[in-house]
Subunit: 231 residues, 2 copies
């Protein structure tokens, strides 16, 4: 499956020799150097997978991120040595959107349509109080726009209990695959099999009030209008 | 946000002292030792994030996986030194399902409902031809059930070009959060703010035929009936 194989080739092996067919395939699954592609991928979600090395072995942790166009913010627990110390250990932050299954005529050509970004670097602990509050605002507004002005702001104790990390977007890698299967112009087209894409869609559902909430408390507009919309 | 903070505490820091409130919170975001929880999480998706260490730094690669209850299979490119060599380097495979935003009365108590699993270990390259074909069948049938008997099977050349890795499910960690926000019984309930959950739903869309496909080729039943169903 292309989805898996392509990524392994990113910077960790020899460049494969290219012929017309692999060039054609490469054009469907494209690396991108466009900053706008990176921005779009980051804007389209709010969960990333952060890779760290702990005692020589990898750990991949899902977490929420926020982005202001220059910096990616995410939480590092005050209890985590490898992250809070900061300034030492490199991370890899991966953001992935799976867009559909690519159903080819051969199993070998099956794959996935996706948009993904990897950001590398050493995250910086954000400790200066004003910067930290602003970073938390970016983090919050990225996933739940409007909540920063609605819900109760963090107090001093909560701020102290929150470790915020900042990662520059300088070193990033983007890969995107769109479109139908790659084998429509090859010998397998003669097999007469169906081929195409089964898209995957992610949407917000309907608000579920906290059961202990009094009945007369209405959901604010910025939350209500998010219902039944695409992620 | 709980989503980020909780995970950092997994095995990488001191255990926080517990009071009634944190115990209550811990019960909503639960680690699980139930094998059935792990199986359910793996069954519910087909994309994982694989963490590897390359030259001392982490790399987090999204890829497709398949699982037969005992073993998790995924691709490692023949061009990837760190993965194909196998037998040396530990990986962390993380499978995450994001189920919704937890909208609390305070920003500090905001979080995410999720199901996630981390599987650790050294992946084994699957080289014996019969086992490799069976592993690829598991991988394929996990994400696209029915395709193995429909699309063209891999030939010898394609099998040789595919690196398949097997990871035992022995060493796994599961974490799940469900339910409303944690601050309904605290002082912030007096603020009169709305609180609850905004669920996130992932569904398959409608099949998109390859544009070069002749019009009289119909999608097989096992694909057609997947349309508009939940992931």
């Amino acid at each position: 499956m292309i989805f898996g194989s392509d990524w392994w080739e990113v910077g960790v092996g020899p460049v494969l020799p290219e012929n017309e067919r692999t060039r054609h395939r490469r054009l469907r699954a494209q690396g991108s150097r466009e900053r706008s592609d990176l921005d779009a991928i980051l804007a389209a979600g709010f969960v990333c997978h952060v890779g760290v090395v702990v005692d020589g072995t990898p750990l991949v942790v899902p977490t929420v991120y926020g982005c202001d166009g220059e910096t990616l913010y995410f939480h590092g627990s005050v209890a985590s040595r490898s992250l809070v110390a900061g300034g030492q250990d490199e991370v890899c932050v991966t953001v992935t959107h799976v867009d559909g299954l690519v159903l080819a005529r051969s199993l070998f050509e099956h794959g996935v349509n996706y948009r993904s970004a990897m950001i590398f670097g050493v995250p910086r602990p954000v400790t200066e109080p004003e910067e930290k509050l602003e970073g938390l605002r970016v983090l919050s507004e990225h996933s739940v726009p409007g909540q920063w002005d609605y819900a109760r702001l963090p107090n001093k104790k909560e701020l102290a209990a929150t470790a915020l990390l900042a990662l520059s977007l300088e070193e990033a890698s983007v890969k995107i695959r769109v479109g139908p299967p790659d084998d429509g112009d090859g010998p397998d087209a003669a097999l007469g099999l169906w081929a195409g894409v089964l898209p995957l869609r992610t949407t917000w559902g309907e608000l579920e009030p906290d059961p202990v909430l009094p009945e007369d408390v209405e959901a604010p507009d910025h939350l209500a209008r998010r219902q039944n919309t695409p992620l």
